[in-house]
């Protein structure tokens, strides 16, 4: 199952990067969203899947799933939420001010 999950994470990365390389801001944001989903799955796969009970201490249970990747992912989910919202507002402002959301047109000035 881990292998399949690794492949799934890879596909999420692939589609994320593909969207990232597009010119439109909305696609780029969708791309970053996909990449963070991929990263979360990636971290989860690094530990062992399904080898025990949920990591909540319970009487009589000896074997728990690895809590560490979960803690890392939890942090990451919240951070990527922050990033996505910031990106969205930024894209909104950029598109509003510049009148375009095409990255090829949003270049800096050459050699100011």
């Amino acid at each position: 199952m881990e292998i399949i999950m690794a492949v799934l994470a890879g596909i999420l990365f692939t589609m994320g990067v593909y969207n990232l390389l597009q010119k439109q801001l909305l696609r780029i944001i969708i791309g970053t969203g996909l990449i963070s989903h991929g990263a979360h799955l990636f971290i989860l796969t690094m530990g062992e899947l399904k080898t025990g009970a949920p990591p909540v201490l319970t009487e009589g249970v000896e074997n728990y799933t690895d809590p560490l990747p979960q803690a890392l992912i939890l942090t990451s989910i919240v951070i990527s939420f922050g990033v996505t919202s910031l990106l969205l507002v930024l894209a909104y402002r950029a598109a509003k001010i510049n009148g375009t959301d095409n990255m090829e047109q949003l270049r800096g000035n050459d050699y100011e």
């Binding site: 994470a9 589609m15 969203g33 909540v56 799933t65 803690a71 992912i73 919240v78 507002v89």
Partner: protein
């Protein structure tokens, strides 16, 4: 001792505040106090019974980087030079720099230089030495470029920086080699274990790198070209950095390591040869200059060459002469630079072709110049110190201890002749400097200002230095035993037998050499105009400057071309380049090291619900790229997110599933709020080649991540630390939910920063929206 080294740095912090009152009190007065204090502190160590002192302070003990200050005879000589000349120069600069200049900047650089130069000569730790060494280069750069509105200043500053920092980096290479070989970062430790270095296969490399550092800093041929351009600095800086102290750092380094390196024959060959060539070339070129400071710059180059050559000779007499000349050179050259500064200040030009006959206008300055230049020329008079060390140079050039075969042999026979040749020209430029400026016809109408004597304050510093010239000349033994002998001992690494300095030795070869210099020098000096055309032949149009300019120019042009080639402003292109580099490097690395492992022994079984979710997610992910409908794209992204939270449920991660569910919902809502304001998704109108490239890069990256994930699952190099959390969650954290305990307790600081990140993002979002509102109100 730490205080003494740090004092200039500490005072430098306060200079900007002090310079606020510069209209009332010239900042230079405050600065003068610093070197005077340091001088007094170190002068206490003088005396016949001097013993080396070591002070140790820890800095980064885990990296074996400690501040170890080691004061031996050689360091003491340099420390007194740095602080003594520093005090005189700071005082002189009070009268030289007008209050309207950027005094704050000047004195900050000046103090930084002083402190780091003290650090260079006192550090026993090579890495501390290197840091201070680069600081001197940096402050020299800033001081040369002090009048940064002048193009020549900027050029000179950049040139000195490039050359000395290049040397500094090679020095670092040598130091790292040596510290790895001997497993210590202490200079004394390295010299104690010198066999390890001398017998190492890297020794030739170490020698070359170390000497590159020393030669670039001390302006040895062919790296001397930066020094003449450094003369664009204000004259006090030239007198201090570019004649008395900084350029002697290279000499110091060679002297410091000579107990070890002189065991190798190549040390003698390279150092002597570089020194003697520099001596001849510098003095030959000095006569050609028309700028007073230009003459002095080439003169400094040649004198440094002479000291370097003596260090290369390595005999006791030679080292004694070298150390003695370091002191003598500082006295007479310092005073001559100050004289040049006075002439520039009072007559308005330093062009020797316009000057002349200034003796009647500035009798005091002329007298000082007389002593300085005659001492530099090595005129045999008992009250000029330059003669003594020149005499020692001749003597040691006749008694070399090297082998008489091979390159060393040829060098040995030619050294005395070259020494005389170089000294003849030294004599010529000294005379040229003095007579060209102060005697002969005056051309008052060509001078920008009417020349007059300098204010007394400006004359005090050169007077002190000239007094030094005369006192050392008259009573050489005053400084011999308590001072010079210790320094020479430190360089040689062994006690010297009693060495006396006499004026009169009888008609022995060195004296005859001096007389030859005097006679030929006088003839050449008088007939200078006759033979001057020889400079059109040698060096003619050839010059190291051309090599330098060409290199710098080409590097700039190439890097501009290359940078323009890929930095075209398109962010997409940058991302593509970065990703492509990551993919290529990672795959190559994986292939070379065999990093990819696949181990299926420890995998969970495949079940239907997971497959179902996974397939849904794959379809949704691909869908995001295919759809051209904004709402559809957003909702499909949501599908991926909800799919992920399903997976979290299946993999027994309840907290994750809950969080993901909430976050995903909020995100989708947010997207839906914003999307309306964004332009519609267009059909991708880009060419097929770009599309294919994007596809290749993204598939490559996905494949890379898959392989990394599989490998990291399949190979466990060490025990997971997760067990610790499982075991101690309740005991130490007092909670049943292990994930929560990790977040708020074990890794509480991480969570705190996470909150900070969110806070920053929230503020940024708020700012962006506020900004819009203000704009609309307008």
């Amino acid at each position: 001792m730490l205080v003494a080294v740090l004092l200039p740095f500490i005072i430098a912090i306060f200079i900007p505040f002090l310079s606020k009152w510069k209209e009332k009190i010239h900042t230079g007065f405050f600065v003068t106090i610093v070197p005077v204090l340091i001088f007094i502190y170190f002068a206490r160590f003088l005396g016949a019974g001097f013993e080396p002192v070591v002070h140790e302070y820890s800095w980064i003990p885990s990296l074996d980087m400690n501040m170890v200050f080691h004061l031996d005879g050689l360091s003491l000589l340099f420390v007194l030079l740095i602080s003594g000349i520093g005090a005189l120069v700071a005082f002189y600069s009070v009268f030289y720099l007008h209050k309207s200049e950027q005094l704050g900047h000047f004195y900050v650089y000046f103090l930084i230089f002083m402190g780091s130069m003290l650090g260079v000569v006192l550090s026993d730790n090579v890495f501390a030495l290197y840091s201070f060494w680069e600081f001197t280069s940096l402050s020299s750069f800033l001081l040369i470029g002090f009048w940064n509105y002048k193009k020549e200043s900027r050029y000179g500053a950049l040139k000195s920086m490039l050359i000395t920092v290049f040397g500094g980096l090679s020095l670092l290479g040598a130091l790292i080699f040596m510290s790895v070989l001997t497993n210590t970062s202490s200079i004394r430790g390295m010299i104690d274990q010198q066999q390890l270095i001398l017998n190492s296969e890297f020794f030739p490399l170490i020698l070359v790198l170390l000497l590159l550092g020393a030669f670039t800093k001390s302006a040895q041929f062919p790296f001397h070209i930066w020094l003449p351009d450094a003369m664009e600095a204000p004259t006090p800086v030239s007198a201090y950095l570019h004649s008395a102290t900084m350029v002697k750092a290279g000499i110091y380094l060679v002297a410091r390591y000579s107990p070890m390196l002189s065991a190798n024959e190549w040390f003698f060959i390279i150092v002597s040869m570089a020194g003697i060539i520099t001596l001849c070339w510098g003095s030959y070129m000095a006569v050609r200059q028309t700028d007073l400071k230009g003459i002095l710059a080439f003169s400094t180059i040649s004198q440094l060459g002479m000291i370097m050559a003596m260090l290369g000779f390595g005999t006791k007499a030679a080292i004694f002469g070298a150390v003695f000349h370091i002191l003598n050179h500082a006295t007479f050259k310092g005073s001559l630079f100050m004289v040049a500064g006075i002439v520039d200040h009072e007559a308005g030009t330093r062009d020797i072709r316009k000057l002349g006959g200034l003796m009647t206008f500035m009798p005091m300055t002329a007298t000082l110049a007389l002593f300085g230049s005659f001492s530099m020329a090595g005129v045999p008079l008992p009250f000029l110190n330059g003669f003594y060390s020149k005499e020692m140079f001749f003597e040691s050039s006749l008694h070399l201890e090297a082998a008489s075969t091979g390159i060393a042999g040829i060098l040995q026979t030619s050294v005395p002749y070259l020494a005389v040749f170089g000294s003849i020209f030294t004599f010529v430029y000294s005379m040229y400097f003095f007579f060209g400026t102060f005697r002969g016809q005056s051309h008052l109408n060509e001078l920008p200002k009417k020349p007059h004597e300098a204010p007394i304050g400006m004359l005090i510093s050169p007077i002190v230095l000239v007094a030094g010239v005369v006192i050392i000349g008259l009573f050489p033994s005053v400084i011999n035993e308590p001072f010079i002998a210790h320094a020479a001992e430190a360089v040689k690494g062994a006690a010297l037998e009693e060495k006396h300095i006499y004026f009169w030795h009888g008609f022995i070869p060195p004296f005859i050499m001096s007389l030859t210099v005097l006679v030929f020098g006088s003839i050449l000096a008088l007939s200078r105009k006759v033979w001057a055309p020889v400079y059109n032949v040698v060096p003619g149009v050839l010059s190291m400057n051309k090599v330098y300019d060409g290199t710098v120019d080409r590097v700039e042009r190439y890097s501009t071309t290359i940078t323009k080639g890929y930095m075209n402003g398109s962010l997409g292109r940058y991302v593509r380049l970065i990703l492509a580099a990551i993919i290529v490097i990672s795959f190559a690395f994986m292939a070379i090291t065999g990093g990819f492992t696949l181990d299926t022994s420890n995998v969970a079984e495949i079940t239907a619900p997971e497959i179902l979710v996974a397939v849904t997610m794959v379809i949704a992910a691909i869908g995001t790229a295919l759809t051209n409908n904004r709402i559809a794209a957003i909702l499909i992204l949501g599908v991926v997110g909800y799919g992920l939270s399903m997976l979290f449920v299946l993999y027994r991660a309840p907290d994750l599933a809950l969080t993901q569910l909430i976050v995903e919902t909020v995100t989708v809502a947010l997207f839906l709020l914003v999307f309306y304001h964004l332009p519609k998704l267009r059909k991708k109108e880009e060419p097929v080649s770009t599309k294919a490239l994007n596809l290749v890069i993204s598939v490559g990256f996905g494949a890379l991540m898959t392989m990394v994930a599989i490998s990291s699952h399949s190979s466990k190099f060490f025990e997971s630390i997760s067990d610790y959390f499982t075991k101690n969650s309740y005991k130490l954290g007092g909670g049943d939910n292990i994930v929560n305990v990790i977040l708020v307790d074990f890794r509480g600081l991480d969570t705190l920063f996470e909150i900070v990140v969110l806070g920053i993002a929230a503020m940024a979002i708020y700012g962006l929206i506020r900004f819009r509102k203000n704009k609309e109100e307008e």
